[in-house]
Symmetry: C2
Subunit: 336 residues, 2 copies
Amino acid sequence: MATIDDVARLAGVSASTVSYAMSGKRPISAATRARIDRAVQELGFTPHAGARALATARTMVIGLFVQFLASEFPPAMLQYVLPIADAAREAGYDILMLTEEDGPAALRRVGSTGMVDGFILLNVVDRDPRLAELRRLHQPAALVGLPADTEGLSVVDLDFAAAARLVVDRLHADGHRSTVLITPSTEVIAMGGAYAWRFRDAFLGRAAEHGIRVRTHAGATIQPELGEQLGGILDDLGDATSLVVHNDAQIAALPSLLSARGIEVPRDLSVISLFSEEFGRLFSLPFTSIETGPDRLGRHAVASLLAQIDGADDAGGVSFVAPALVERGSVAPPSR
Amino acid sequence: MATIDDVARLAGVSASTVSYAMSGKRPISAATRARIDRAVQELGFTPHAGARALATARTMVIGLFVQFLASEFPPAMLQYVLPIADAAREAGYDILMLTEEDGPAALRRVGSTGMVDGFILLNVVDRDPRLAELRRLHQPAALVGLPADTEGLSVVDLDFAAAARLVVDRLHADGHRSTVLITPSTEVIAMGGAYAWRFRDAFLGRAAEHGIRVRTHAGATIQPELGEQLGGILDDLGDATSLVVHNDAQIAALPSLLSARGIEVPRDLSVISLFSEEFGRLFSLPFTSIETGPDRLGRHAVASLLAQIDGADDAGGVSFVAPALVERGSVAPPSR
DNA sequence: CTGAAAGCGCTTACAG
DNA sequence: CTGAAAGCGCTTACAG
């Protein structure tokens, strides 16, 4: 690999001039610039990332911490990762991906060795063990998912309470008086996935206001429990005329269970859920839903992180992204 | 952040002694070591990754190139990424994740700036545009997926020809005389996904040996085309008593289409496919299948890459991993 | 068993 | 408009 000294020698200038020519941080005469450009071309020179990081204290890399909660649905995570990688790249950053079990140790290792300029943490939970280490590190960071203590952290998440109200209001508008709500699994709730209870509690509150009866089930995430549970719910709807599914694995499995039972949506049952457009396409889900917008959340996190890295000192605080309801025709007035 | 000089000062030794104490590359007296350890603890010292990379010409990072072929099924990719990340980590390496559209440019940027010690390329296709750049870079690399020209490359992939023979032999053993084969999409074939035709051609060859009739369809990957096509195939099986699905999206959609039609497996139709145990669990697939073993392939790629990085000069060549058939009871003698 | 020094390849004040 | 030099924080021959 050619070094900046090789370029300097070939162009007949000093290394510093090469550096300035490439960064554009000071004026260079046209003739010199031409010679430098030619030398750079000829040698195929690109600055060594490590040397540059050492000199500038900037790596142009961000650490992306993916996290698979026990009993969460893996494909959902990918929807966040790709938009984040794209947004980072557009800003000139690469992505160091952290996937370890031991989150705090990984943060410490990568943070304290200066491998990255900042972190994005996905799927942050209520009392996330990574946060203590993150605070100690004093590095820029953006979180996706709401922890219990947001002091000094930059957090973005969907406004699940608003989402719940949208859903209840939608059912109420069509005259539903009774519904079944399937929440994320008990494991997710135990791990502290705040989105679970933020949605559920707001849902129950709004339903009470409208006088809508709600039966709640914490949804299983793996087979065969999932199929048995969801099948049982479908077989015993009671007076419920609608089903609200806040659980990726369950909504993905729903179409086949519905069709096995000959239940037609929305004629026999109204269904409403939460998922991204992409997720819905992947699993062919014909259901009206809250768009969870992982791309929007991911890009928001990147923007927030880069602002901090660029010293905007924008500790950010908590941003709740407003949800939107996407009609797909699976909600209609009840026939019973 | 504390530096090695801070530690040296606090411990009353030289920086080089600190370095040697930490690397264990030369004997250090117990007393000195104790003082150094204490100083390291006290200051929370960790060596700066950039400085170390500059001094050693080693980054302890590997570049992982994920690649989503048009009309491939995204969740399948994740199964490779996680085991690779785990295996890398176990060996002390972190993962720089590349996801860009422009593969060659990404390789050049990361490779020529010395950000990584080597690359793993996923989903390599027949005439992969990344390979020219990879050869120019002269960096260690391991590929998952078979390109047309493997000269000088280290490649690992499932032995799809052997897999096809296993499948045909399994059908033949139960007396099937006619089958339908759904292959990856035409887009995958056009992009050069060699696994598509390696499986198909071996399948047709073996079927001919056994005198088994085969009707072949290139499977659509997105809805609603997928459902219409697969539904049409199920509605018009002709004399086919078995269905072989080499297409992630189609096999994921199959259970719901079968149940909608009241087709019972294996009573009415034998089904056999290719997917990983994890993929099968995710989509609740009750089908006998070739285990595609993404974790094994991923770990193999990491091992091969690390051997090259450690100068084993093991250009590797092509390794085909032997497939295994996992019985799940979806193949039985035909009733017709 | 330990230290002083060179060197890895950049960037950026300091000088002119 | 350009150059010489210091410095970023390590590792590792070279010396003792």
